[in-house]
Amino acid sequence: MGKRIYKTIDGNEAVATVAFKTNEVIAIYPITPSSPMGELSDAWAAARKPNIWGTIPTVIEMQSEGGASGAVHGSLQGGALTTTFTSSQGLLLMIPNMYKIAGELTSTVFHVAARTVATHALSIFCDHSDVMATRQTGFALLASASVQEAMDFALIAQAATLEARVPFLHFFDGFRTSHEVSKIEVLTDDQMRAMLNEELIMEHRMRALSPDHPVLRGSAQNPDVFFQARETINPYYAACPDITQKAMDKFAEITGRRYRLFEYFGAPDAERVVILMASGAETAHETVEHLLNAGEKVGVLKVRLYRPFSTKHFMEALPATVKSIAVLDRTKEPGSVGEPLYLDVVNALREGLEAGLGELKDMPTVVGGRYGLSSKEFTPAMVKAVFDNLNQETPKNHFTVGIFDDVTKTSLEFDPEFSTEADDVYRALFYGLGSDGTVSANKNSIKIIGENTDFWAQGYFVYDSKKAGAVTVSHLRFGPRRIRSTYLISRANFVACHQPSFLERFDMLEHIVEGGTFLLNSPYDPDDVWDHLPREFQEHIINKKLKFYVINAFKVARESGMGGRINTVMQVCFFAISGILPREEAIAQIKQAIRDTYGRKGEEIVQMNLQAVDRALSHLHEVKVPSQITSKIHMRPPVPDQAPEFVKDVTAMMIAGKGDDLPVSKMPVDGTFPTGTAQWEKRNLALEIPVWDPDICIQCGKCAMVCPHATIRIKVYDETYLENAPATFKAVDVRDKEWKGMKYTIQVAPEDCTGCALCVEVCPARNKQEPRLKALNMEPQPPLREQEAENWDFFLSIPELDRRQIKNGTIRQQQVQQPLFEFSGACSGCGETPYVKLMSQLFGDRAIVANATGCSSIYGGNLPTTPWTVNQDGLGPAWSNSLFEDNAEFGLGIRLAVNKQKEVAEYLLKKLSTDIGQELVERILTNEQLDEPSIFEQRQYVAKLKKKLETLKSDDARRLMQLADYLVRKSVWIIGGDGWAYDIGFGGLDHVLASGHDVNILVLDTEVYSNTGGQTSKATPLGAIAKFSAGGKPTPKKDLGLIAMSYGNVYVAAVAMGAKDEHTLKAFLEAEAYRGPSLILAYSHCIAHGYNLRYGLQNQKLAVDSGQWLLYRYHPERARTGENPLILDSRAPKIPIEEYLMKETRFKMLTKINPDEAKKLFSMAQENVIKRYNYYKYLASLKLEEGNGKLERKKLMTPTK
């Protein structure tokens, strides 16, 4: 058996280790939460790590999961041991190939981190809806319940598939298992080798397609034989369960860890049994253990091999005494008799009893229920509720557990106070920011404890749905036994708050036990800190008799040269206070971990962290807790009182972290939500905000244009509105002559600003006496917050300028338009959102947005709130996200529907023209609506029309009434990132471009898959380091614009706001005005580029100056008048490309990893840039002959002699 090796790793790493070691080809596509498996494999391959046979697996990223599964299928047919990793929609895209792979009896294992399939909403979290959708494919389905099992079953599946020839889908719960860090016993190469039978591998290879022994596979069959051929596989499926059990038995011999296809745990004479699979089974196990101690006759049956379902093994696993069974499904199948596992159990019992299998004699009562959709908590209290339900005379069937269903009353009640947490398990909660390193430090702590003590350790991390100021909550458990608690901590011994600003937002001590410990990072001294706590915290501390420690971690980190990275400091405090390890030993371990983690990044980094360790201890103080609650500060309500009902009732609950308490009746039935909700969620993220100096300001509007969060706004208004202005409200005379006599204000939303400082960077106006100052300067937020919040409210009360008075062709005027996209959850300094916002200002009041899945769908549509909003008339963008891969088609569909409804409206208009009045009808039909005044006019005509229609009683009039608004021109926007446009959605995008329909496609090109963590896309430039291009991307970026131009009737523009903002504006206006397909490629800086985004605009400019990003517009209408449609708006490259590349970590890193390769790729990049520029210059300089090529065609058609 060899020496046991323990490691603390997460489920993804555990599985990927086995998959990488036991395969030769790995084809993948990134999707949460399975992406890390592909990334790890790629990193190991890049580091030239071999598999157990000594060669390095080939890892390839494909353009979609459909592509990945095709490549897997091909590679299997080619005879290589091949695997893939995926989740959710990705798995659904693999289904066609899964049928093929299974139909051809091909040995492979797909590893799936199970994730919810998008229905009324997308969810990145876990349930089994994806796995359940593959039941019919013929894949074996094997479920693991923990990180240990995930590693073990990955190998068992690999061994079983080779023998059974049935392909395996090995799944484990997304996030709960894939991202849980846990101490496990890891498999060695020898153990893996011992499990896999070489003969079977050779047989697998023998079945490969080869011209040396050619066969034909994948024929087309007819009614005469298809059916019979399909039945040939039955013996293989019949044998599969025994083969799998045999593999499990062999595994037990090798490792000592024994598994069964159906594993029963509980009283041998149990009367009530719960049946379920994956991570929930661990919590059920823990609960059963607890109930057994209380003398209850209960048990849990864990389903491991769900397909092929072995009735025999199932029946044999059940005790003879069982009277009632509850089957729990982590999926929902609307309209079915019951969920899949439930139906299988019912049927297996019926057939099993009939066949006399097992010891059970009578059919027990069986009920089914749903739990845990989208990672809904599944706790011992819920398991107990399920058992309690079985105690009822008529247990509730088709129940739900974990929610309150007040609509169809399916839910079981549970007692949230019920707990099975043992006293000897140490439970700690840490509230931090993503950027302060809290999670990284905790992962480190788990490793230290897991790998240096006999304690078992578990870490689970809850992340924010926002990107800017992302909050993380770490749940850590340490205990003397294996930890099966697959649910969040609700009884903590220790709570740490790493950010003092959380005190007003989160009730962090709600879940601390009496006598627990609270550690606070605070700028205040131990003597002063008490008075700065909100009342609620003082109450908790006194009432629960908490120990209270404080440290100024910011100060310690700053003094150690670590900036805002307080991870090491807080980690030291945790160890110092918790006493899990002797203090000296803990410190020594932390220091060793620092050397291990940062060693390769340089001694300076190591020293900085070591210094922080030593300083932390001397700055940690216990606070003497007073006996009186004295604070006058209260936690802030999640939303203000004046918020709309829905926001107060529903949204506020989610903001406060109490979304779990919302009953079914509060949720919209079809996933439809009101817009305009982000304004109610005041997050106060900025440490500093811009302050306007009106005397210096030249009123150019650039600051408002680049603001990613629409928190800096401009208004031009009549002086009379200033009457009740707050004392500090700033207003000056407007400089624009066309608005002479009016007032001008730039106002910042202090509580929504994220402090990115892009506005300050772009501001061109300097103070002449003190040029370090501009018209905007960053100043600390807290002292300004109240005053500016009042100013902001007042600013909002000033009416927007009539859109007819705004010439939207120049930024200084255009930026007065109201943004209808505000306060999104995008990263501070995001490079995408300024483009989205610009679109919303220009066309938002008549726009419909189809949004591809990705960053923009997350910051645009992730609950609790949405940044999409409405103007004072209630008009604004309507928004939807269909999928990742289909966004162009989705948007086209919207266009078709809009056109159709407009067509019907026009038809009715004509039909009713005598009743309505010929003149009005004529005006409506002939208005081209090319600019804001004519659109305004059209709205007025339509209002008039509606008034008229009110007086008409016919059905046609009613129909027209409903459709009349379609007579105002609608703007359809198809928005997404480069991963969508260049890769997974390219086929559809191409088709939509070719369709000729009037849609506007905005590609937010960050040149990498940003949302899933920086994987290479075909937009990734040459030489950039990204995941799957660890050695620098060796091929150039795909020229999507050029491809689109080849259609001739597509408007194409490549823009970079930071390089030439007026050009961006012009392109947006032209694209929208063009009555055919338009494509805007918008260069978007991104945190995945690795630099301070404050300089995002400068880098955009460098990208353009170096020729890396070309600015151009291709306007098909120019061709009609004989002009060359292509206008190259970039000048010749004027700086060497390296000057730009070295400003971004994604390129610079290559010089640190492989300087020779960097030199080579950078010089290739330089060459490409020049070539590409010259090519575009050549294209743009071509003279078109009159008639747009007609002459040419004529010439061509003249036969030559």
Binding site: Y463, G563, R600, G602, K1152
Partner: protein, 334 residues
């Protein structure tokens, strides 16, 4: 005619040494320098800030966004190995040594005592024949005393000297209260040579944008007066080789520097302006001048016009300044 000289214990064919400049970033150029007659080459500088900054920057950008988002636990692949040190620079020295026979002098540029001085040793291990330590420090702290500044220089030098056993020359600025004393102290602290002087990069203003603009100015022929004076003053009074840097653009400039006592004359701006092959033109000029004036060797010339040996030692001091001003007559009447 014997053009040879000894600098930092290295026997050089001529005193014409190529100074640290971007030209030496390419191995091909170093070969061309040798072909054009350079007797040694000082490599382009490895900067303390570069070493330190690159590490911090990389660590920051690869960790700052780590473990922040559920869907993106990080944004960059984590390579097994980072070349965060000056590996590329060291590799370059190795390659230079392989491709030429003339001595290769490493150049390390810094202003504080820190981990970076360890790279001196690596430069030595990479094969450098000597090291030029360019201490580039602009004191802006009003409370810092001159003595503290001097101490800083000495500490850096001592730290580097403990790392290496190849000769070390210190390239320093002229901005000391008593440069002669500073020179003496540096020699006592172990400097084998002094390079007079480094030129501080002087920023320029963009009056349109109201911004400070970085811009590099090449040296002018007038610049040689300053090092010439100080070499003349120091020659024979300290036990270290003196090298002249700044403003050496033609053969007579070389002659002048040798006469005041330089062991080596460092060429930079002139090569950036006229190309590497210009070394040959200068050498030919030196040979021609020496032949015309019947000098047999460089050695014969070295130090002949230093303050110790020249006919009018006061010419290097204030008395001569007074006379110089009084004798100046503008071309037209004021």
């Amino acid at each position: 005619m014997d053009l040879s000289t000894t600098y930092l214990g290295l026997k050089l064919r001529t005193p014409l040494v190529v100074s640290a400049s971007p030209l030496s970033e390419e191995t091909e150029n170093i070969k061309r320098m040798e072909d054009a007659g350079a007797s040694a080459v000082v490599m382009h500088s490895l900067f303390e800030e570069q070493i330190r900054h690159d590490k911090l920057e990389l660590a920051h950008h690869t960790t700052y966004t780590k473990d922040s988002f559920a869907e993106a636990l990080d944004f960059f692949p984590e390579p097994e190995e980072f070349n965060v040190g000056p590996e590329e620079y060291l590799e370059h020295i190795r390659k230079a040594k392989e491709s030429v026979n003339i001595p290769v002098i490493g150049s390390l540029n810094g202003a504080t005592v820190g981990g970076w001085v360890e790279y001196a040793k690596l430069i030595q291990e990479a094969g450098a024949d000597a090291l030029e330590l360019n201490i580039y420090f602009i004191p802006t702290n009003l409370d810092m005393l001159g003595a503290e500044v001097e101490q800083k220089y000495l500490e850096i030098l001592k730290a580097v000297k403990t790392e290496v056993n190849i000769p070390v020359a210190v390239k320093l600025s002229p901005f000391f209260s008593n440069l002669a004393n500073m020179a003496k102290q540096l020699v006592q602290a172990g400097a084998n040579g002094l390079v007079l002087f480094n030129r501080f990069y002087q920023p320029d203003l963009d009056v349109e944008e109201l911004e400070i603009k970085p811009s590099i100015l090449l040296s002018t022929p007038q610049a040689l007066r300053l090092p010439m004076r100080w070499i003349a003053i120091l020659y024979g009074r300290i036990q270290a080789d003196l090298a002249a840097s700044g403003g050496i653009h033609k053969a007579t400039d070389v002659i002048k520097m040798l006469m005041v006592g330089a062991k080596a004359t460092l060429l930079c701006s002139v090569l950036l302006r006229y190309g590497i092959d210009y070394i040959r033109v200068i050498e030919e000029g030196v040979v021609q001048w020496m032949a015309e004036h019947e000098y047999e060797s460089v050695e014969q010339m070295q130090g002949s016009m230093s303050q110790l040996k020249c006919p009018d030692p006061s010419a290097f001091e204030r008395a001569q300044y007074m006379r110089a001003l009084q004798s100046y007559k503008p071309a037209h009447e004021l």
